[in-house]
């Protein structure tokens, strides 16, 4: 298993390299002068020329890319042209916010999705099943943007029990060491801050989790149905085991692999920056930063952001694959 893991980790490098080349070429072909886009209308030609020089736009793409790669291997991810700050510093600020939101969304969607999926499979074609599938349909069809705004309207204005957005109420003291506010609040024993942070997480996590929840529900249901039809399930029932034990201990564990795959993949997607949710809930995450960087043609920022997202996605996939061995002892990696 260790050899397999190491092999997979080494294989990340060419994949990320390919991704970098692709993204760098794509942004190269976006029309428009990046210097002009960054500085706007109220600017002199000299300033534009100076910025073009600084962005390296007067050099061929291959030279620029080569220099970027060389710096990357030395651990230098470059400096944001727009903000004038190291990309790694910016990523360190943004990643915890997105990670925390994505994790919360996945927890909500997994718990709800798996529960509904199991119930639906167990009571196939019942009212419970149809209700579950209807919830899944609504979840996957509901535009996140609209759902978010509706939730803010209801729970921040009509029945004001939750904050409208952001991660923390202005004025609430929190010593943020890691950037993961929930963790920071727990570690520093800051109860009021923990409560405040969790309240801020509720709506965006639910809004962001609806689509993954729908997918997980459907996948759990179909996977469970397949397993429940197996002979060993009938055997277990024939042996007199309680339904709950049959479903949860025997059927569910065998149905888990496709579900874990979907959960993992969705987590990777969410880590890519839930732009709409972050925008609606004023969540200072990776998605909005990356979008602003693309609009501003901030090449180093876009490259750095995509590199991180690509690496995160690949690593999560690896973890998902490794988890199969834990779930199913018959799965072995050499």
């Amino acid at each position: 298993m260790l050899k397999y893991t190491i092999r997979r980790l080494i294989a990340i490098i060419p994949v990320l390299l390919g991704l970098l080349v692709l993204i760098s070429l794509l942004i190269e072909f976006i029309p428009g002068d990046p210097a002009r886009v960054m500085l706007g209308q109220h600017v002199s030609e000299e300033a534009l020329e100076i910025l073009r020089e600084r962005m390296g736009l007067n050099r061929p793409f291959i030279v620029r890319f080569g220099i970027y790669l060389g710096n990357l291997f030395r651990g230098d991810w470059g400096t944001s042209i727009r903000e004038g700050r190291p990309i790694l510093t910016i990523l360190a600020e943004r990643i915890p916010a997105t990670f925390e939101l994505s994790l919360a969304a996945m927890i909500v969607s997994s718990v709800v999705g798996i529960a509904i999926g199991i119930l639906s499979a167990y009571r196939q074609y019942s009212v419970l099943d149809y209700t579950g599938m209807f919830i899944a349909l609504v979840g996957i069809s509901m535009p996140v943007f609209w759902l978010g705004l509706m939730m803010i309207y209801v729970f921040s204005l009509v029945v004001p029990i939750l904050p409208f957005g952001g991660r923390l109420t202005t004025g609430v003291a929190l010593n943020s060491v890691t950037g993961f506010y929930v963790l920071d609040a727990i570690v520093t024993g800051n109860g009021p801050a923990l409560g405040d942070v969790l309240k801020h997480l509720v709506m965006p996590a639910i809004a962001l989790g609806t689509i993954p929840m729908a997918i997980i529900t459907r996948m759990t249901r179909s996977s469970m149905l397949e397993v429940l039809r197996q002979d060993y399930i009938n055997t277990a029932r024939a042996k007199g085991l309680a339904s709950r034990v049959v479903v949860l201990r025997h059927a569910f564990k065998n149905a888990l692999i496709p579900v874990v795959t979907v959960v993992g993949l969705n987590f990777g997607v969410l880590l890519g920056g839930a732009i709409l949710t972050e925008t609606v809930f004023a969540w200072p995450g990776l998605g909005t930063w990356l979008l602003d960087s693309i609009y501003a043609r901030d090449y180093p920022a876009v490259q750095g952001g995509v590199l991180f997202i690509g690496a995160a996605f690949i690593l999560i996939n690896l973890l998902v694959d490794l988890s199969y061995a834990w779930i199913n002892p018959k799965v072995k990696y050499d």
Binding site: P31, G32, D33, P34, V43, S44, F164, P284
Partner: protein, 529 residues
């Protein structure tokens, strides 16, 4: 009788005290100002975006500053100035006792001429050790300043390469905000961008990127008793509807950038006040005189008579603006109120086209902006409306657009027949509109600000004269004459000036909706304390 007089006097005194107390500004409280995007940097010499300007506005001061609500200026960090006869030397006398904010372990210190010289020298001198950044606005608006020197601790002399009447207004704008030399030398430029030190009413406390910037009252501020507030928080709420809900819920106190659709929702709420004022902007359709048939005045007049601007303002600006008559907004000094706009008259438009040799009209393109701005809130829809009205008189215009950077490049290169564009004023001077947008100096192919490529030598002479002369009344006369010429030549279809709107909770008092200055919280106070 004596007793009656004493009681009467006592009553009067009590009434006076209560009367004064009723209007007295209250010290204290914090306000949350919500905007649609985060600031990018807080080094005022190196910013171009409005969100950075709004925050810097509260941390720094300039030598002169804009009055409340207008584009006139008054002394601030300087108490006065002198201009040499040839207009090439401007000497400013600095206010004594102005203190910079403390930073880190460093105490507050008094601003002197060396801080002022540092502020400017690092911008114009490429070899300056702190010349780090793009300094986009310097080249565009200040490159006539070639030197700044400290005559003594409280006197600074600027040397200009040419006379510039707008110089005082330019020195009141954000690029000329005075920074702390010692703080920048202590921490370096990159750190200063994230931890600015100025002389302003509020000092920087913290910046949680993408979330909020916290400022607190600077007790050593030179312009006592301001500020009234204990602190200001600039929050980022990208989505306008979320911003509106937050305002209604009382979670924020000021909502920036209210669009026409949401304005009535604020006006109808008893807890909120909509602040509205004409913006310093103009939206227009430039007709490129390098491209036929727009070199023909009769065609340009036909276009001006073919479009119903009031309908455009009513429909797309929801009445929150006004049809533009002149190429500068009506709230700007020097606006010529005697010019009568071209009336909406399709018959007359057709007659002009026929006289120009196009009785059956002609085919052309109308370029529209891919991004919205205050002056064109819905560019594509406005373009479609204009297209329909032009078609009505026989001008068949195909709608064309490009990505924004490309759009600017191509219009500056004069590749368009007709193109929508606009302008937001920088310094509250007519020169910033008329010279930048319509003078022949600005008609260089490849970098044109004058995308109508309109050349008029008389207009040019008026513009240059107005740049040299310092007497305001003379300048007003020159600009009024300039507007008459421009109106006669009709290089544009001037469309509209949009209002600026900000929503506030009703307890927010004296927020300055200044045409030039944005986000200034110095004079704001709460009446609910």
């Amino acid at each position: 009788m004596r007793m009656f007089r004493r009681s009467w006097i006592a009553l009067l005194a009590i009434a006076l005290v209560f009367g004064l107390a009723a209007v007295a500004q209250q010290q204290g409280g914090t306000l949350i100002f919500a905007r649609g995007g985060d600031s990018v940097r807080l080094d005022p010499a190196d910013i171009t975006d409005g969100e950075s300007v709004k925050v810097c506005q509260n941390i720094f001061n300039t030598l002169y500053e804009f009055d409340l609500g207008t584009s006139s200026v008054h002394p601030a960090l300087a108490t006065g100035y002198e201009v040499s006869e040839d207009g090439l030397e401007w000497t400013f006398f600095l206010r004594e006792g102005v203190m910079f904010h403390p930073w880190g372990d460093n105490a507050s210190y008094e601003m002197t001429a060396e801080d002022v010289v540092f502020t400017f020298a690092r911008q114009y001198d490429e070899n300056h050790p702190y010349h780090e950044g793009d300094f986009a606005y310097w080249g565009y608006m200040y490159n006539y300043i070639t030197n700044a020197e400290a005559v003594d601790d409280y006197t600074v002399k600027f040397t200009l390469s040419r006379p510039s009447a707008p110089n005082l207004l330019n020195l009141s704008c954000f690029t000329a905000m005075i920074v702390s030399k010692r703080a920048m030398e202590d921490m370096g430029v990159e750190a200063f961008r994230n931890n600015p030190v100025g002389t302003g009413p509020f000092k920087f406390v913290s910046w949680t990127r993408g979330s909020e910037i916290v400022l607190e009252r600077f007790d050593g501020y030179w312009n006592a008793p301001y500020p009234y507030l204990d602190g200001v928080v600039f929050r980022v709420i990208p989505e306008e509807q979320a911003r509106l809900i937050a305002l209604k819920a009382g979670e924020i106190d000021i909502m920036d950038s209210v669009t026409p659709d949401n304005a009535p929702l604020i006006e109808d709420d008893a807890n909120l006040t909509l602040l509205e004022a004409p913006g310093l902007n103009v939206g227009y359709v430039a007709m490129n005189q390098m491209v036929e048939p727009f070199d023909n005045i009769l065609v340009r007049l036909a276009v001006n008579h073919a479009v119903d601007k009031q309908m455009l303002v009513d429909t797309f600006y929801k009445g929150r603006g006004e049809p533009a008559v002149n190429p500068m907004p009506s709230n700007l000094w020097g606006w010529n109120d005697e010019i009568v706009d071209y009336e909406y008259n399709p018959e007359l438009a057709r007659a002009f086209l026929a006289a120009a040799g196009y009785p059956d009209g002609f085919d052309t393109e109308l370029w529209y902006m891919p991004v919205f701005r205050d002056y064109f809130p819905q560019p594509k829809l406005i373009a479609q409306a204009i297209q329909a009205q032009l078609a009505d008189v026989g001008i068949r215009a195909e709608l064309v657009t490009f990505e924004w950077g490309t759009y600017l490049e191509k219009t500056e290169a004069g590749e368009h027949p007709m193109a929508m564009l606009g302008w937001m004023g920088d310094n509250g001077d007519p020169d910033n509109f008329i010279y930048v947008l319509l003078d022949k100096d600005s008609a260089t192919v490849g970098s044109a600000g004058n995308i109508a490529f309109y050349i008029n030598d008389t207009l040019h002479d008026l513009n240059i004269a107005a740049q040299i002369v310092s007497d305001v009344d003379t300048r007003i006369g020159l600009y009024k004459a300039a507007q008459v010429i421009i109106h006669g030549d009709a290089p544009w279809l001037t469309v509209a000036t949009a209002n600026r709107m900000v929503g506030v909770r009703s307890y927010v008092q004296d927020y300055d909706l200044n045409p030039v200055v944005k986000g200034r919280m110095e004079f704001v106070w709460r009446n609910d304390l």
